[in-house]
Amino acid sequence: MADAMNVGVNLEAFSQAITAIQALRSSVTRVFDSLKDGMKNKETLEGREKVFITEFQDNLQSVNRDLNELERLSTLVGRPSESHPLHNSGLLSLDPVQDKTPLYSQLLQAYKWSNKLQYHAGLASSLLNQQSLKRSANQMGASAKRRPKVQPSTLVLPPQYVDDVISRIGRMFPDMSIELFRPNGTSAVLLVTLGKVLKAVVVMRSLFIDRTIVRGFNENVHSEDGKLDIWSKSNYQVFQKVTDHATTALLHYQLPQMPDVVVRSFMTWLRSYIKLFQTPCQRCGKFLQEGLPPTWRDFRTLEAFHDTCRQ
């Protein structure tokens, strides 16, 4: 008995308790049976009543006795171990028909899955709270009620500050030249020349990157009238793909409170294209896939992959 207690569930008491429940049920049934049958035919009315009452009392007493027995046993059964993560469902593992019905293993899997889901959902929600995807001024204004001051102020940074941040980033990467233009008022447009590989036109709003277009090193970045061409896409498929990926990167690197970190992260990422034509894919090991070199760069590791080889 003591050994069984250690397991957390007293199996013997358990089976006794089940028997006690059965006894209780049958005695309760007997009570209602006798009530239903009513008084049986006896010579005298008093005799009939007397017999009925005695029988009823006997029945109730046996119900009482069975109930007491059950209560006594239930203290012996003990509480199932609280430490079991599945609580009572953990007892399913004790079921001898386990082999036929994989209920317990399924339950375990479902439990693990839901646990993981909860964990990931928690991570995702904390990340999303940090990195708001709201990028335009209007939306910023709307959310300013909740987070006053911090965001709107980053949109009205003095041009001199923007110039400083950009030139500091430019000095970080010797193989990358960043020229800053202000063709339309205070908003800056950056012309990034990466080695002899590519040229990227980066349109800024304050210190936020609004859009970007990547073209080949030998392609025009100025339109016929001599202005920076911030609209037409590259003639080469490889740079059209890189432009798509760069746009994805802009959405990835978002940290509204620290726009200078975002610009620096984006430039670090863009710089990994310096070996665009020299690096084989990190997954398939080839240079070309459908005529294109590995155009994708992992946001974290900066490794090169074909668009079709990334995951």
């Binding site: 002899k196 590989v197 090193f217 030998n218 490889v238 020299q278 240079f287």
Partner: protein, 211 residues
């Protein structure tokens, strides 16, 4: 104008120039390349005459490329080269007393132009005095300007339709001191064609290889 490699394709076993070209066209089309018109590259040879100092006569090559129809390229053997207007040919006639046209030395490569993604492929039959003497394959990777950067990538591409007989990095690039930067005009390409024409000119006409 990207990085260009011109190479000579050996004839397929027991096949003529035209048959080998047809096989190559089929391979390119299977790969997904799309035919986009045709091209011509030609080369005339001139002897410099009347050199007073008794030096060996230098050769001057005048070349045309259908990619740059308005200009014409003059290359001195082992010397400088210049890009001129198309009517440079007329000037050469005027300079007859100094440069004599070596008749029968005219070589040209003529064929189809294919595009595959950012690659441009030109397969041409090289003819000399109206007999087909060989096959030229020009592969250009348009988005890149540094031959050393994209050479492995181009090799992988050429392997996919030329098989194992792919060339080494063209000497025009490997002999450059640094930077390996392909100029925007097509001097590097034309130099490669000139080298190829020179090889074709020297090579024996094997029986059965002419059309």
């Amino acid at each position: 104008m990207g990085v260009t490699c011109v190479c000579q394709l050996p004839l397929a076993e027991g096949k003529s120039v035209q048959q080998t070209i047809d096989i190559l066209h089929k391979k390119l089309e299977q790969l997904g390349a799309v035919k986009q018109g045709s091209f011509t590259v030609d080369c005339e040879t001139y002897h410099a005459t009347g050199n007073a100092s008794g030096q060996p006569t230098k050769l001057l090559y005048v070349m045309h490329n259908s990619e740059t129809p308005l200009s014409c390229l003059a290359l001195f053997e082992g010397g400088p080269c210049l890009t001129a207007d198309g009517n440079f040919d007329v000037l050469m006639i005027k300079l007859k007393s100094h440069f004599q046209n070596a008749k029968g030395h005219k070589v040209e490569s003529r064929g189809s132009r294919y595009r595959y993604c950012d690659f441009l492929i030109k397969v041409g039959a090289v003819t000399m005095s109206s007999s087909a003497r060989g096959i030229s394959v020009e592969v250009e990777y348009c988005p890149c300007v540094v031959p050393g950067d994209c050479w492995n990538l181009m090799k992988e591409f050429m392997q996919s339709f030329l098989g194992p007989s792919i060339p080494e990095l063209p000497s025009v690039f490997s002999s450059k001191p640094e930077g390996l930067y392909a100029p925007v005009d097509c001097v590097d390409t034309m130099t490669q064609y000139l080298e190829l024409f020179g090889r074709v000119r020297k090579q024996q006409v094997l029986p059965g290889t002419t059309r």
